[in-house]
């Protein structure tokens, strides 16, 4: 059950983002230390999901997308010449808002799909499947039907399968884009427990609209905000404890206490 690679530190430097001529993010500087969970919070449309996508180069898949600034993975710029998007995405995994297991594959094949798709060798398939499913705490529910189609699972199980699929790649960083927004409280709780366990072996960045969730799972929190017709940006960034209990900025205080957003 040991991780093959060490967790890495990820940081963004002056990240600004455009869609066509419209700038949606301005100068985001954040550091995600190894083995820490960072929550990105803020009202809808403030650019936090967009920012998350710049961290593993999924942003550039949108044809009108633009970007300036750098993202450093252990000191190396992932937008630099030595990196390409595929290498970045192998090292930095992603879990989406909506569970998206591959419907034509079995549970087992979904877990192995990452290695197959990225063209890497699968050592011990059985062991990798079990380890990944255990780490996403879904092993006990699916161990007797690994060859069933993935879409036969419930929504919460599908999302944990997607987490397991990312974990099979043994990523250094795991990005999660509102992973619990479509799930019931029970599934949400299990995924939160999984996040806490995973942080011992990787760096985690999670976008969430759920204040309690941010408080429960994260070590540090960044509050994003976009005022009318201006690009979004980070208003306040610090330890989760401080953001929720003693924010410096009035707008952060209003948001975390539910006065707007």
């Amino acid at each position: 059950m040991t991780s093959l690679t060490k967790a890495s530190t990820l940081s963004s430097e002056d990240i600004s983002v455009w869609f066509g001529q419209r700038q949606v993010l301005s100068n985001v500087n954040l550091t995600f230390p190894a083995n820490k969970v960072t929550a990105l919070i803020g009202p809808s449309g403030c650019g936090k999901s967009t920012f998350l996508r710049t961290l593993n180069r999924m942003h550039e898949l949108i044809p009108s997308a633009g970007l300036s600034g750098s993202v450093f993975l252990d000191g190396e710029d992932i937008y630099g010449e030595d990196y390409d998007a595929v290498t970045v995405r192998i090292k930095i995994g992603m879990v989406f808002q909506k569970p998206n297991p591959f419907p034509t594959m079995s549970i087992k094949d979904n877990i192995l799909s990452g290695l197959r798709l990225s063209g890497r060798k699968i050592g011990n398939a059985e062991e990798l499947v079990e380890t990944s499913l255990r780490r996403a705490s879904i092993w006990n529910e699916v161990k007797d039907r690994l060859n069933d189609q993935a879409i036969s699972l419930s929504g919460g199980q599908q999302q944990r399968l997607c987490i397991a699929r990312s974990l099979a790649m043994d990523p250094e960083v795991l990005l999660m884009d509102e992973p619990c927004s479509a799930l019931d409280p029970g599934s949400t709780r299990r995924i939160e427990e999984t996040i806490k366990e995973l942080s011992s072996s990787m760096t985690i960045v999670i976008v969430t609209h759920n204040m309690q969730q941010a408080q429960r799972v994260s070590d540090q929190t960044a509050f994003f905000l976009a005022d009318d017709n201006t690009p979004g940006g980070v208003v306040e960034f610090g330890a989760t404890e401080q953001i929720f209990n003693g924010p410096i900025d009035q707008r952060t205080n209003d948001y975390v206490n539910g006065h707007f957003g």
């Binding site: 593993n56 999924m58 898949l61 044809p63 595929v86 290498t87 995405r89 192998i90 995994g93 992603m94 989406f96 909506k98 998206n100 297991p101 591959f102 419907p103 034509t104 594959m105 079995s106 087992k108 094949d109 799909s113 990452g114 197959r116 798709l117 990225s118 063209g119 059985e126 161990k143 007797d144 690994l146 060859n147 189609q149 997607c162 699929r165 990312s166 790649m169």
Partner: protein, 358 residues
């Protein structure tokens, strides 16, 4: 707390006796009146169906609906009557075509009819001799070559139209749509002009080439719709796992669209397998059995039907019907085969050995 199982009930279907009587009357009366009218006056029964029965049925159902629910009941009843009437109309037309092909065609059908060819057979020869074996071979070879050419290219076009961001997509889509309106005889004439210009001999391969522009747009259009239905989530999920574009396409998008792509193949096949004019122009006819699409004329099922239909002899007509039935059976067989293969492949990932759980 005890639980006794009870049969399921549908309380929304409850109706009082008066309404039941009305419903029964509305279902029977228009038919009875129409039948009576036809018997009494002797007008054409299909004319009466449309001019008398349909309006009467609409009025009757509309009255029952209005009586029960007012205006919305009237609208609902109207919709029900009109949709059922026209569905039945289309169904009866299709079934009568099927039935006449099957009843007439089965008179000619026999093992010898499927295997023998048309050599030494004339319009008056007894049905105990000769058959469509040569036409089955020709149709399968010619349509097979067309399929091998058109399906990969059509799917490739659909991939270009759905997966790329190119600005030329609009042009390609418009041209494809325009091509789908191409009359088959024009396609045949085009290939014939090539044959004449270069002094080639008419042969099966030219038939395949003439059918190609007919099959391609159908395959491309249907495959495009099939690929559009694959959620973009899946592609993003694959790319986020570090997949290069081509692997995301071949391992995730293509399998997810597979049943739709099989439909594209089948509709393309159905589009060309009954084509007659382009084949008569480019392949000609051949009473003997030819297995070589690159040399000399071949017989095809539609051409066989055409040839014997133009005769005035009874046994010739039955040969034509028989060939029509063979074509129908062939299409049904190919459809079944494609669906079976399409399904069998997707099950392949399932039956791997299940390891005992710990």
């Amino acid at each position: 707390m005890s639980f006794a199982p009870r049969p399921a009930v549908q309380p929304w279907k409850r109706a009082n006796t008066n309404r039941r009587i009305l419903i029964v009357l509305a279902s029977i009366l228009p038919l009875l009146i129409t039948a009576g009218l036809v018997i009494a006056t002797g007008i054409d029964s299909s004319l009466a169906t449309i001019v008398v029965f349909l309006p009467l049925q609409v009025i009757a159902a509309g009255f029952v609906g209005f009586n029960a629910y007012g205006r919305r009941g009237f609208g609902d009843a109207l919709l029900v009557v009109v949709t059922i009437f026209f569905s039945a109309f289309v169904l009866i037309m299709l079934l009568s075509v099927f039935l006449s092909v099957i009843t007439e065609g089965s008179k000619a059908l026999s093992l010898q009819f499927l295997t023998q060819n048309n050599v030494y057979i004339s319009n008056t020869t007894s049905l105990e001799y000769g058959g469509v074996g040569n036409a089955i071979v020709g149709t399968l070879l010619i349509v097979g070559i067309t399929t091998i050419l058109a399906v990969p290219l059509g799917i490739a076009m659909a991939v270009y139209l759905t997966q790329s961001q190119s600005k030329l997509r609009g042009v390609v889509r418009t041209v494809t749509q325009a091509l789908s309106g191409l009359p088959s005889v024009v396609s045949g004439l085009f290939v014939l002009s090539i044959i004449v210009t270069f002094g080639f001999e008419k042969s099966g391969i030219f038939g395949s080439i003439a059918l190609f522009p007919l099959m391609l747009p159908t395959v491309a259009r249907v495959a495009e719709e099939a690929l559009k239905l694959v959620p973009s989530d899946l592609r993003l999920a694959a790319l986020a796992l570090g997949a290069p574009n081509y692997k995301a396409f071949f391992q995730v998008i293509l399998p997810a669209a597979k049943s739709g792509l099989v439909t594209a193949l089948l509709l393309g096949l159905a589009r060309v397998i009954g084509e007659t004019a382009p084949l008569l122009l480019t392949v000609n006819v051949n009473n003997g059995t030819s297995w070589d699409p690159f040399n000399g004329p071949m017989e095809t099922l539609p051409a066989y039907v055409y040839g014997y239909l133009s005769s005035s002899f009874n046994s010739a007509h039955q040969r034509a019907w028989g060939a029509g039935l063979v074509l129908l059976i062939l299409v049904a067989f190919l459809f079944g085969l494609a669906r079976f293969l399409g399904r069998a492949k997707s099950m392949k990932s399932k039956p791997t050995k299940q390891k005992a759980s710990k």
